[in-house]
Symmetry: D2
Subunit: 342 residues, 4 copies
């Protein structure tokens, strides 16, 4: 079977990471094109990882490139709609980094366009679904060996956010969105209401930014999910999830796993380990597995993992979250009108 010829759109931090992944540790893929409005950057990256890689300043040109079998979109969310629609039109499998698009309307437009095709083409980059620990947790929940799952406790901490234009809403849209997808996927059901509670903020956040945030999801079955998102935690990237069933519970992502050391501290000895600084290290394996699965399935003519409908559902829940953040009230989440992928 010939390799899948992949084009990558967007060569920022995430896109460059994917370029290296495709070029050096993905089986069955051949990186054939990159696109970025910053053509020089794309050029330099292409030169770094191979030869005979086309470079485009215009992403739509890459989508139209005859050599490209499939597209990995790592461009900003604001330009996803146009690029996704172009991929669908050409019938190209596409792995789209989250968010699917920036609002419900455009997400619905994308889902509708995809559902009109003979077969689905879009995988959304909720990489946690490919993380082995998350997968084990989901399988445990699905087995019902502890009965129904009643509660999830999710924690999401980042070291810091240097962006000087950062606003409270971005915590919902860019960070909580992962918890939204995890809750839906782990429990296999929709979020029906979202309530954001803002504690007195840390002094390490920008003036006016509500960080941390405590968020409550109500699920269709009546299950409840608590979330802490804290993007200026100053400690590192901590992502944990505890699922509580009728007769048992499970936790993933505890600090305390892995290697630990003892050493002389300032006030006597201590034991402990390192907290990973960011998502690229924590989810390195998940990203590898995600992209490999996407390539494998695309070569077989199929698609796996979270789809455009999941991207839309995440957008709907996050929109409700942003409204709750503004108003302080619990907000009902409108349900997507589309049927799940067969």
């Amino acid at each position: 079977m010939s390799p899948l010829r992949v084009g990558v759109v967007g060569v920022g931090v995430m896109g460059a990471d994917h370029v290296h992944r495709l070029a050096t540790r993905t089986a069955g893929a051949e990186l054939v094109a990159v696109a970025d409005p910053d053509r020089g950057r794309a050029q330099a990256l292409a030169a770094d990882v191979g030869d005979a890689i086309s470079v485009h300043a215009d992403p739509l040109e890459l989508v139209a490139d005859e050599r490209v079998d499939a597209v990995l979109l790592a461009s900003p969310g604001a330009v996803h709609t146009e690029q996704l629609l172009a991929c669908l039109e050409r019938g190209l499998p596409v792995l789209c980094e989250k968010p699917l698009t920036m609002d419900a309307e455009s997400s619905e437009q994308v889902v509708r366009a995809e559902q009109e095709l003979a077969r689905p083409l879009i995988q959304v980059g909720f990489m946690r679904r490919f993380d082995p620990e998350y997968a084990e947790l989901r399988s445990m929940i699905g087995s019902q060996r502890w009965g129904r799952t009643l509660v999830l406790h999710q924690i999401h901490r980042n070291l810091s956010v240097p962006n000087p234009r950062f606003r409270s809403e971005m915590i919902v849209r860019d960070s909580l969105v992962h918890e939204v997808d995890c809750a839906r996927w782990l429990l296999g059901e929709e979020i029906t209401a979202v309530q954001v509670i803002a504690p007195a903020p840390t002094s390490h956040a920008l003036e006016g930014v509500a960080d941390p945030q405590i968020t409550i999801f109500e699920m269709a079955s009546g299950a409840v999910v608590t979330n802490e998102v804290f993007v200026n935690s100053r400690t590192g990237y901590e992502v944990r999830c505890e699922a509580v069933g009728e007769s048992g519970s499970a936790i993933i992502g505890r600090p305390g796993s892995g290697i630990y050391t003892t050493a002389v501290g300032e006030t006597g000895g201590g034991w402990g380990g390192r907290i990973v600084p960011d998502y690229r290290e924590r989810f390195a394996r998940a990203y590898d597995l995600e992209v490999q699965a996407w390539v494998d399935e695309a070569r077989r003519g199929g698609v796996v993992g979270p789809g455009s409908r999941d991207g839309l559902a995440a957008t709907l829940a996050c929109s409700a979250g942003m409204e709750s953040l503004r108003t302080g009230a619990k907000i009902e989440v409108p349900q997507t009108p589309f049927a799940p992928r067969r």
Copy 2:
């Protein structure tokens, strides 16, 4: 210094535990009297642990007993008011198991009566304040080495509740009450609002009982506390607390501490440890330290630990919690009018 002659009122599970504690592992105390409406039970217990122990069917008779220097109240909450007032009248130091009393009005009556005395006499049995792990956590919070503490996550699970008349409110009054006191004590401030969220209940709870419950406390400083209380968890007694500061966090009570074993399981090997079945094992050391501190301080003419005002504050927060459970709304907590103990 002569030993403190202690009388114990109530010889149910908790009272009998205290009787053994005072008789066999508390320094400076002499158990001189026990009282219980079930006189036979009190008689049997007294005979078991010593000689020359007076036995009373009427608790007030014990309070009036000339040999008694101090009283440990382990009677049902409904009779606390009368018994506490009797102790105050006789000027006896008293260690009162929680709750102080059953409602705010009677709690205020007790606080007022005590504040009219020359010196405070009441210690309330919030034993967690004497647990070494909780004490270490509080000291870490108080040191502000990670700045202000913004969030607490508290988890409280019991194995099961066999009581056939158990009702949802009891989760608030008898279990959440400990989290109420911990939140106030750890953070050093009052709870200003309580919101109870009831997930779809476990099938192991009685029909109509909301178990588990997720409860949110808003604190005076703007800190937020999330609580899970799950009294039919089927796994054991799990009490955990995570404090999240501006640049660090700490957890106590993790499962995973202590001894662990590996063994052949049904589907291959596993590692792990036992979860303690109940509070008496988990907080054995805390109870010992609590009673020893009470005895030591009473012999010196003083009182330590949580006082009647803390008991009243807990009652006020739990009353708000019960109202939130009924209405689904967030309820403001009225603040106690009394000044803290000097």
Copy 3:
């Protein structure tokens, strides 16, 4: 039942610790006398914890004191023989800090003198037998739920040893001795051979001191025990034991138990906890339980825990260890001729 009137001999670090324990947190005991060649120190300590406490410069005077019901020996090992024999002569229960005596000959003399009495009187201060984790491990081994126990791995690290006259043998006599007693007690059998292996020493030890030491015990049943003793580990007091059975294993004393925190480290965030600096903190509870058990049993006319024969057996094994350290050879351990206590 009247309290046990206790005299403490030796008010160094360990003795002073016991004086506070007896005076403030042991039920049923009354501290009535202290003795130390440094009379001023004894005087100051006595004044600190009570009144009406006799102070002796001569330990044998304390043993002869009519008010003393029982003696706690915390004097240097070199004077134990004489003091123990005096206690036995007066028929006083005695809790003797390890070592029982400094050599096998004198230990045998003590055991013989005790066995001639109508009832045993000596408890040796191997406090780990009272540590809850060690007790749980022993009970697990004894249950044989994993079959026979084949191997123990014991680790014993101290922060540092400031003593400028410290010699390699002291690691065997003062530190390994605890592992000797644990191995015998956990496995319920005698050590038959000892081999000490000395790695290249740490640069933090005194010139010429073999630290760390790896020691192998062969047990009567064929079980094997590995030991690491490292008294200048620079990290703190770490005492661990892993027992390996035919179909399971268990570990106690892992770093990683208890509270842990996350914080900003020099090179990014880390998680972890404190290592206790010394044995007094690690075994605080064990010491309390040890002394309480000694007092309780002495008041009933009995004796519990490790006895003089265990002290002798430890001396025999440590003597073999010291010879192995000198010669590099595996040394057989002579077996004590005395029968175990009934």
Copy 4:
């Protein structure tokens, strides 16, 4: 750059695993041939993973196959010498599963043949060197942030060994060999002496088989390594290593990492996790990284990781171990005469 065309010799458990790895999750590799004396089995496997894969019954035929750029040897150790020499003769890069060969003489022959070539070609399958936790441990040791490393404690447990012809020596040759390589690689020095101590064996081992075994390595620097190898542990695959430095220590492979669950056990609740059943799960990532690194480096004309000299050194240490097992004595390890790879 064109992909590396790989032939796999041997399609037993390990070989079949590598065939799937090369065919589905290794970038830059193309599986072009498989060989196995059991031609039918090789045929079936080839059909399973691709088309246009040549199948050989004779491994030397595969080595001579013009399409083959590089060879992965997963055949039994007894035929390695001949196959390795054939690869060297043809100038083919080869990844050889351990052991390099069955005895020191043949290993030396292979090393000598390779050293006569212009460039090295052999990588030996000590996959642990590619495990992220081992790599982190080695980097910590190498940094000397805790000074020199004085002691390693290595533990290696297998669930069980069903082989009815299993003998004690195989524990040394097939299991301890990994610890031999880890000790050499982690500490960066040679083993100078090996002593095997055999506890009374588990009743789950075959009659006459010494299982578990405690083995002591003395290293050139004076560091000491303790090893427990227990191949019928009945609990699962547990591989741990603790490194003890002059002012700190580190552990990898603790049970207790990763997901854990709580559940109702037979005697009340417990918490814990699964122990992986075998090396293929524990070292899945290490194998992937090992093969990817081999492919990447072979395409660049180089070789990485452990080489033939490391295979020889392991053979020399294991031979000493087998002699110690027979005699009970400590055996000096002869040092390889060959210089390390440049």
